[in-house]
Every structure is written in structure tokens, then in C-alpha cells.
């Protein structure tokens, strides 16, 4: 099964004729993802290495019936692209684009939620279900199929932990990069809920960072609703307050959002937390070994 993307994914790539859009669309296809269409306004009728390009998602929908969109258009046009995808009937939107204004995302979030659309990102590396489908920029070669679901606010940190897991012989069901922006479409809780419901996922790693209170909320959710063991890691243990650490959402405001508070919230609910990526990976490997 896996979550969010899998063999049933039919992908349309919005912004497929851009440099990065094309590179990753083809890389995703090479991995086995069913890339059925691309969209670039004004380039309808063209093709990118065999992938038909349409002027609008509506046109792509009529011809190729995608169910998932990957948004790779520049920040100024990305909100529009997400609305376009939803309007055309796309069920899952994975938005890689970085730098979308937060008020745009606020409106988009409140627009898509009652419509039942899944949005991952923005400013995220995408979603990879090893052996099934890869939508986004996650380097699939460092992951392998297995029982561990991985959800993270940080892209490269995910690769780091995934890499360590793979080296320890532990594979993954799905890797979800939820993105580091203040408003993201899929929260930790959303991903945890899906992992809990996914029969192929038996363990979960949650990689958080400073800022906001999503990790604390996830801790409560884990305690109340999860039967599968969860291991955590929180980046930014030494970050100073009041400074935005790269991700727009990674900022300690006053006394809220510290790594310490998050780690304590998780541990209070029985979640084991690693103090660095290597330690977190080892905690998971121990759990997997113990369950064998």
C-alpha cells in the first residue's frame, strides 16, 4: 500500500518544461512513477521526452486522467497552479516550490481542506514510496522498501536518516517531506494518521525541528491514536531564539517552539527521541530488530 503515492499514482507535472521540472519529472518517471502529463501554459501540444504537455490541468485531465500533481512552477505562480490543479479535479497535490507567500498558503489550505484534497508541501522534497513511486526530488537510490514510515519537515535531514536506516538494513514504506513553511498542507498528524492506517508501515520516524507546535500536537496524537511505535528527532537543539533558521517556519518565538520543549512533549508521551540523526536511526533499527 504505502501512503500518498504508489503504483496507482497518475502524475501530471505542472511546470514540466522548466529546467528543474523537466529533470525531476523524468527522474521520477525513470524510477517507475506513472508520469502521464505535463502542463505549461502556451506549450500545449508539445512533449517532453514522450510526456505530452498541455496548456492547462483541465486539458491534461480530459486527455490523461491524472490523480496527482507535482507543482514545480516558480513561487509567484505556484499558488495559482495549486488552485488550477484542485479546480481540475486533482486529488493529491505535491508542491515542491519554495518561497510561496504564507497568506497565499493560508487561503489555499482553507480552500482545499473541505474539498478533501491532499496537499503535501509547499517547500518540500515530495513523497517517495520505495519500489512504487517517487514524486518530487527525493534521491530514491538512498532508500529501500521496508516497514518504516518516515515523515519530516526537512528534506536533507530525511535523506540523512533514510540513508542511515538503509545502511542499518532497514527499509521504508513511504517517505513524506511535509516541508518547512509555517503553513503546510499535510501536517505531522495527517501523515501519522495515514501511516497508522497503512498495513505496510509498522514503525514511524518523525523528524521535527524548532518552531510552531506541530510536534507537540503530534505527541498527543501519537499517545491517543497510534498503535505503531514512533521514534522522533528534533533539529535545532542549539538554535538561538528569534532567528529564522532557513525554513520560514523554523523560528523559536519567545519560549515557544524550542527543540527541548518538543523533545520533552514527545518523551512524555512515550516516544523515543534521538539526539542526532544517527542515534534516531539506531533507535528505529533496534525496534525493527526487536520486532523480528
Amino acid at each position: 500500500m504505502a501512503i500518498i503515492v504508489d503504483a496507482a499514482t497518475r502524475l501530471v507535472v505542472q511546470g514540466i518544461t522548466g529546467r528543474e521540472g523537466q529533470f525531476h519529472a523524468l527522474r521520477n518517471r525513470d524510477y517507475g512513477t506513472n508520469v502521464v502529463a505535463g502542463v505549461t501554459p502556451g506549450k500545449g501540444g508539445e512533449a517532453v521526452e514522450g510526456v505530452p504537455v498541455f496548456d492547462s490541468v483541465r486539458d491534461a485531465m480530459a486527455e490523461t486522467k491524472p490523480n496527482t500533481s507535482m507543482v514545480f512552477v516558480p513561487a509567484r505562480f505556484a499558488a495559482d497552479a495549486i488552485y488550477e490543479a484542485v479546480d481540475a479535479g486533482i486529488e493529491t497535490v505535491i508542491c515542491i516550490t519554495e518561497g510561496i507567500p504564507a497568506h497565499d498558503m493560508l487561503r489555499i489550505y482553507n480552500y482545499i481542506r473541505p474539498r478533501g484534497v491532499t496537499l503535501v508541501g509547499p517547500n518540500c522534497p515530495g513523497v517517495l514510496s520505495p519500489g512504487k513511486a517517487n514524486v518530487g526530488i527525493i534521491p530514491a537510490e538512498i532508500f529501500s522498501p521496508g516497514p518504516v514510515g518516515l515523515v519530516s519537515r526537512s528534506g536533507t535531514l530525511t535523506y540523512q536518516i533514510g540513508n542511515e536506516l538503509t545502511q542499518l538494513g532497514v527499509g521504508q514504506s513511504t517517505i513524506v517531506g511535509i516541508g518547512g513553511d509555517p503553513v503546510v498542507g499535510t501536517s505531522f498528524i495527517d501523515a501519522l494518521e495515514r501511516f497508522e492506517a497503512d498495513p505496510e508501515t509498522r514503525f514511524v520516524v518523525m523528524v521535527g525541528e524548532i518552531g510552531g507546535s506541530e510536534e507537540e500536537k503530534a505527541a498527543a496524537f501519537i499517545a491517543e491514536r497510534m498503535t505503531k511505535p514512533v521514534v522522533g528527532y528534533i533539529a535545532g537543539r542549539t538554535a538561538p531564539p528569534g532567528k529564522t533558521m532557513g525554513h520560514a517556519g523554523a523560528i523559536i518565538s519567545g519560549s515557544a517552539g524550542t527543540a527541548k520543549a518538543k523533545q520533552e512533549a514527545l518523551e512524555a508521551r512515550g516516544v523515543r527521541v534521538g539526539t542526532n540523526p544517527t542515534e534516531a536511526a539506531r533507535l528505529v533499527a533496534d525496534l525493527v530488530a526487536g520486532a523480528r
Binding site: 528534506g155 535531514l157 509555517p182 532557513g246 517556519g249 523554523a250
Partner: protein
Amino acid sequence: MDLYEYQGKELFRRFGIPVSDGRLALSPEDARQAAQELGGAVVVKAQVHAGGRGKAGGIKLAASPSEAEARAADILGMDIRGHVVHRLWVEKASEIEREYYLSVTFDRGEKKPLFMLTTEGGVDIEELAATSPEKLARLHVDPLVGFHPFQARWLCFAAGIREPAEQKQVIAIVGKLYETFVSCEAMLCEINPLIVTPAGEVRALDAKVTIDDNALYRHPDLAELRDLAAADVQEQRAREKGLAYVKLDGDIGILGNGAGLVMSTLDVVAQAGGRPANFCDIGGGAQADVVVGALEVITADPVKAILFNIFGGITRGGEVARGLLEALERIGIDVPVVVRLDGTEAEEGRRLLAESSPANVHVESTMLSAAERVVELAR
């Protein structure tokens, strides 16, 4: 982007939120002149991005222009929690009958704007929320439907503001604050305190406004304020190069791709006993020139060693290695550089480094070993 109080008040004024008359002053002479123009008692206020200005002595009352000049001389150059005072806001002194607190911010959990209003003004809002939540009226706004006056009325009633004339003013201010919040794409608009004068006038005595950096392209007028607001020249230079950079107080330069990985790198360096000098995220898909620029920025800080931690996704190892080699040649970096390359085209990057093998470059295969090595080399 955080605005200074005087910039926030200028915005408030633009949107019709009442503030006191005031002038910006960059010198004691300016402050005297400002006090003269304003007439009567004035308040001289340090303009820094730090809380607790008052306690730190950054806000002083002055009864006359000459007193204002003297107070300005005291405050200019002060260090308030690491922020040196270069600017003052001199404004007419206000008589205060009561102090309230009003803000609108992003509720990241609910994904809706959140208003908070309390008549317990001047206090720490987080503390109040924790200790006396019943005193804090909270209200979410649906960003698609927008703000409606009934919400402001409800906030007033919930906060216990019942005097009709006062309520009317607060309701108007709530509406205008939402307009400011949305029109300027702010992440936070806070008035603390919102005062009521003995004459019953309601006015914003302070202004804390944070604008979404990602939205600045739509607000050239606000973007201009950034240059004025820039606390740190180096941070601004980094931003111009498209880098996320934060200055810290240690001696090990930290460079990586992706905010999470860089934060994590700071953590492991600290665990290994080192002290990072900075945080520098080259982002995703950086080309060699970005790497060169990043090295320029972090070596402008006094660093004893540099840790280069790259796990490539969209970023390619070859580009990073080329950028590093180019920077070594161009900028002449002589401190030790520990490099850890993984992910996309990592072999290519490692091969390039091995071929060139500069004396001060040390390649490590894991993040932990790289952290340990750089701490060792920085000793």
C-alpha cells in the same frame, strides 16, 4: 522581516489605526528638534528588534527638548540584548488610563489568523495565556471569508470591554489591524500596549509588525523598509546571494544544504564540544557560484575551521565540490575545511576533491565523524 516600532506605527497610521505623533531621530540633536516640533513632554524610545526595551533603559520620558537631547544621548549606542541602538523614535508622551493588548497572528496549528485581546495590557502574553487563559479573548478568522465586525464585537465583549465609546474605537482598530495584516501580508501585527487615555481615546502605544519575507516582492514599499531595518549587514549580503544565514557566537563555520540538515549539523557540532560561528544554508540545487558566495559570507566571520555538510537531493555533489575548489582558489581560505558529501553525484564530488586534494580540505564519510573532526581542527 521585523519592522521597527516607528515603521510599524507608520503602517498603522496608513491604515487608520490611531498612534501618537512622533519623529525619527538618529542623533541627540534630531531628538531635541523632534521634541521642539512635537511640543510638551515626549518619550524617547530606542528602535531595536528586542523586547524589554523599557527595563533595559531604552525608553525614557523627557519634559523638554534639552532633556530629550540628553536622554537620546544616553540611549543611542546602548546595547539592548545584543542590539546596538542606532535609531530613536521621539513621540508625544501619552497619558495612560488603562493598557490593553491586541494582536493578530498566524495560528500555525489552525491555519487561520488568530486575534488575541486582553485588558491585562503590558504583560507577557504567553504567560497570561498559560496562567489566566480566561482573561485572553481569542478568535480565529476564516481567511477565505475574511473578517467581520461581529468578530470584533465578540472580542470586546469576551475581553470585558463594555464602555460603548471605547468599544466602538476598539472595534474599529480590530478591523483596521486585520486590514493591515492581510494587505501587508504580515505574520504578526501586535499592539502592546493599546492604551486608553483619561479622555477615553484608544491608541496604539507600541507596534510590532512582522512581514512575510516571501511576500515582499508584492510590496516594494515594505521591501524598502527592510534595507533600513537590516540589523546585520552580513545577513543582508547573504540574503542578496539567496542564502539563509544566521550569525552565531562560536568559531566553526557551518555550511550545508537544507535548513534541517544545517540545524542538525549545529547540534552535532555542539555535541562534539564545538561552537558554531554561523548557520549557512545554500538551499536546494545550488550551483558552484552559490557555494563560493556562501564561503565568502561565512569566512567574513572569524572562523577557525569550516564544516561542509552536504546531502544532495536536488543539489549535486560535483557542483558543490567545484564551488569549494573555486572558492579556495579565489578567496584564499586557509582554515581547515572538513567536507562530508553524500547523495546525488556525491562520488563525482569526492573524486574532484581527491584529484585536486587541497592541503586544508579533509573529507569525512559521516556527519558525526565530520563534526568530531572539525571540532578537533578548530582547537
